[in-house]
Amino acid sequence: MTVQGNATASSTATDVRRTVESAVIRFAGDSGDGIQVTGSQFGLEAAIGGADIATFPDYPSEIRAPQGSVAGVSSFQLQLAGHDIHTPGDSLDALVAFNPAALKAALKDLKKDGLLIADAGAFTTRNLQKAGFAANPLEDGSLEAYRVLAPDISKLTMNTVEAIPDIDSTSKKEALRAKNMWALGLVLWLYGRDRKTTAAWIEKKFKKNDQVLKINRAALDAGFAYGETVGLPSTIEPVAVPPARLPAGDYRSVTGADAIVFGLIAGCEQYGLDPVYCSYPITPASTMLHLLAKLGGDQGVRIFQAEDEIAAACAAIGASYAGAVGITGTSGPGMALKTEALGLAVAAELPLVVINVQRGGPSTGLPTKTEQSDLYQAVMGRNGDTPLAVLSVSSPSDGFEVAREAVELAVDYMTPVVVLTDGYLANASEPWRIPDLSALERRSADAHAVPENFAPYMRDPETLKRPWVVPGTQGTIHRIGGLERQDGSGEVSYDPANHQKMTDIRRDKILGIARAIPAQAPTLGETTGDVAVVGWGSTYGAITDAVADLRAEGLKVSHIHLRHIWPMPANLGDLLKGFEHVIVPEMNTGQLVTLIRAEYLIDAKPLNKVSGRPFAVDEIAVAVRSLIKEG
């Protein structure tokens, strides 16, 4: 469905609304409350209405975490704005709490004077107890600092459902599950959004169950109507968020996982090669596998759900050996299991794309929380001198370009390429201008061409890659493997001098990628100054907003964000030496910063956060200010 955006964002012409430039809203409740769906739909309505958005879904690792408990709270935060934004926001303009536990977990993030919408019906003695409240905060005056709107949403939803003609009694029992739609309706109204897309979504989603469809539809409308018609207290005024001035084009919303999937397919198509995606389910990487499974053979994609991550990596290697682009996606612990197989791909010099959706570690760690702590593993975590290329993704939509480039590097250099993204990026979504696929560069018409005087380990003088001649080709029969091989002939060789040479070639081949990638430019700010804030991956949004703020204060700060982790861009050392200070915010205990220090002998300072949550803009700004003050 394509709707015309950029129209007036408000649905009723009679509204007189105050305009705000942006708003940060969080929905929070039990994992059974439909929080993720509510948040996504709100985001979609906001985006279609022309706003820029950034989202942050966050949920517990249990399927059904204990009802009413703080540990079981699922939440979905988003920022919508009339300008280009990069993060889901630090503190909340509005919080929608479906129960006391949600309030408990989220209240600290709500701005003073922020809007709190709570379902009074869920603030029962039992729920209050479970959340650890001694008294009902809706009644004990403890929320005075906020603007509170606490209708009994549960009851209002029930009433709405009761009023639907021909509703049967079993369905009525289920009616309470629609309270998220009631709340969504109200919030859509408060922020001047449309509800057409959500209505269409309900029609489609419940088309097999007419009763449930009607219930959800009615709840959505009732919430909307509540805002429109029930006189809200004067402190609670509806607002309008103007459309953002986004570049012209067709837009859709993508999550980080979606964007990578599309990028992988596009990358393979550039070469006319088939992607073969081999994976073993693991949170938060599974969503890529799910989307690829859905797209299926129709998109030239073959997926393989392997028996474990080792088999997934090995099958991907086998697929590359046989001429497809083998791809394997996973998350931290699964990446650990692929270690040995990656070594084989390096030794055999086969293309391979590995997507690691990082999550909180060590070990099983915090499976549904985000972190950037697998950089060491990606760059250095193998036995032997086993170099490969490492790229990173900075925003949900950035995944498209990075995945596409990963395929290119894998094929052009006959090497594994690791793409680091993370749990936050994989689940977060943003509006994305659909790329013009016809503009895709068509690359080396025949990736499997047989060079003259073919030998399995002969080299392209420019890239040092060996030829990718695949089984089924006549006249080029040969054998490869993980034992050291003679340069050129590819025969097994234990010759000392050859081993030295091959080790050097493998290193130089990867380092040579630095010649092919663009020079590093600051994302924001000048190429010299007082402080360079160097980031990689999903810290992008927070850093760039922080640097913008600091620059607005007149400070000489630049933001330098790396896509290429290994090899690093050729000019990076020189660029960084143009700054008085270098600080590297990372969601780990300091990994990129180690590489930078070792490579360039620059006293880059770490700024670390390992709490399973992305940086707040302010955390970075504060650190940079104190760096400037100190030195």
């Binding site: 469905m1 394509t2 709707v3 015309q4 950029n6 985006a47 279609i48 022309g50 897309t197 986004l246 570049p247 012209a248 084009g249 067709d250 837009y251 859709r252 599309f262 397919i265 596009a266 198509e269 088939d274 073969v276 081999c278 299926g296 053979g297 129709d298 998109q299 030239g300 073959r302 393989f304 392997a306 028996e307 474990d308 080792i310 088999a311 090995c314 991907a316 290697i317 086998g318 697929a319 590359s320 050996y321 046989a322 497809a324 083998g326 197989a341 084989l344 055999a348 201008r433 659909i434 696929l437 016809s438 089984p471 089924g472 080709t473 029969i477 054998r479 490869i480 493997g481 993980g482």
Partner: protein, 336 residues
């Protein structure tokens, strides 16, 4: 794909110097395989040997076909990937008992249950050859090795029993000293459409010499091996007068002599490759007492992994349009 001008067995041998110990049982296996390929008229360029690590896993180097000597235990997984990318290739896996049943047990399980199209040769010498003679999961109880100086304790894995339990649809056994039968068995396996599993008893003369003498030595073959042929009674022995009978009292297999105790040829069990229960009993036979069943124990044709693979669109321009369609499916909007 088969060739127009057939090749000879030696044409399937590469120019690589063979580095197995002189007298190693692997030689007779590679000889049989080269003959099978020649007889089948297989195109070397369409044939791929995938292996893990071990003496046995050096196999691909000696074949004039495409070959991939991968990592320990993972040949089955790599071979599955080869099939995914190009289902037309004729894929073989050659692996050792350690490679297949110690580190690689899980992948073997899964290629068998998925019926992934490949000829899987497990060269079982009941020892870790390449690493110099440690006990393997198939070593007989009590074997003294550097890791079991006072004899192994664990009950071995039984490759055929394991394969059947894993849901294999083709399960066979050959012996390195019985070229003819080995050749026939590998031929059947190669012709099978799906995952064809063949255990080959293979003597390692350096680290476990004579482990199979009791059934494999030339002089005892007639009496100690039960050559299975589908539809034929299970008769064996130099005089062809001994046989296997199903005992309906004990519900187990018996060893009988035709002409003794009123036993006639009609009492002898007729081999039925399709009967998994009987195949299991055959695999389970205590071969210190019973003869060693060789040949195809079980074969049950079924759709293979490659048969079931979803068709994949290859045409790039069409694909580009389809990707564009996918990108535009769901909610999109236009910004002017």
């Amino acid at each position: 794909m088969t060739l127009q001008t057939p090749l000879k067995p030696k044409d399937y041998a590469s120019d690589q110097e063979v580095r197995w110990c002189p007298g190693c049982g692997n030689y007779s296996v590679i000889k049989a395989v080269q003959k099978v390929l020649a007889d089948a008229g297989s195109d070397p360029a369409e044939t791929v040997f995938v292996s893990g690590i071990g003496c046995s896993s050096r196999f691909p180097y000696y074949m004039e076909t495409y070959g991939f000597h991968t990592i320990h235990g993972r040949a089955a997984a790599v071979a599955t990937g080869v099939k995914l990318a190009n289902p037309k290739l004729d894929v073989w896996v050659v692996s050792g008992d350690g490679d297949s049943l110690a580190i690689g047990g899980n992948h073997l399980l899964h290629v068998l249950r998925r019926n992934v199209d490949m000829t899987y040769l497990l060269l079982n010498n009941e020892i870790y050859g390449l690493t110099k003679g440690q006990a393997s999961p198939t070593s007989k109880v009590g074997l003294k090795t550097p890791t079991s100086p006072r004899g192994t304790l664990d009950e071995p894995v039984h490759p055929l029993r394991f394969a059947i339990g894993a849901g294999a649809r083709f399960v066979a056994r050959g012996v390195d000293t019985t070229q003819g039968m080995l050749l026939e068995t590998i031929k059947r396996a190669h012709a099978y459409h799906g995952a064809a599993f063949v255990e080959v008893l293979q003597n390692c003369l350096v680290f476990n010499d004579g482990s199979f003498d009791d059934v494999a030595e030339k002089s005892v073959i007639a009496d100690r091996q039960l050559q299975l042929v589908h539809g034929q009674p299970m008769i064996f022995g130099r005089e062809r007068n001994r046989g296997i009978r199903f005992n309906t009292g004990t519900l187990a297999l018996d060893m009988v002599t035709i002409g003794e105790n009123g036993v006639t040829e009609a009492d002898i069990l007729v081999h039925d490759e399709n009967n998994r229960a009987i195949a299991t009993m055959l695999a389970d036979l205590d071969t210190t007492v019973f003869p060693l069943p060789v040949g195809v124990l079980y074969a049950h044709p079924e759709a293979s992994f490659a048969d079931k693979l979803e068709p994949v669109e290859h045409d790039a321009p069409t694909l580009l349009q389809r990707l564009d369609k996918a990108l535009r499916s769901g909610n999109t909007w236009h910004v002017a």
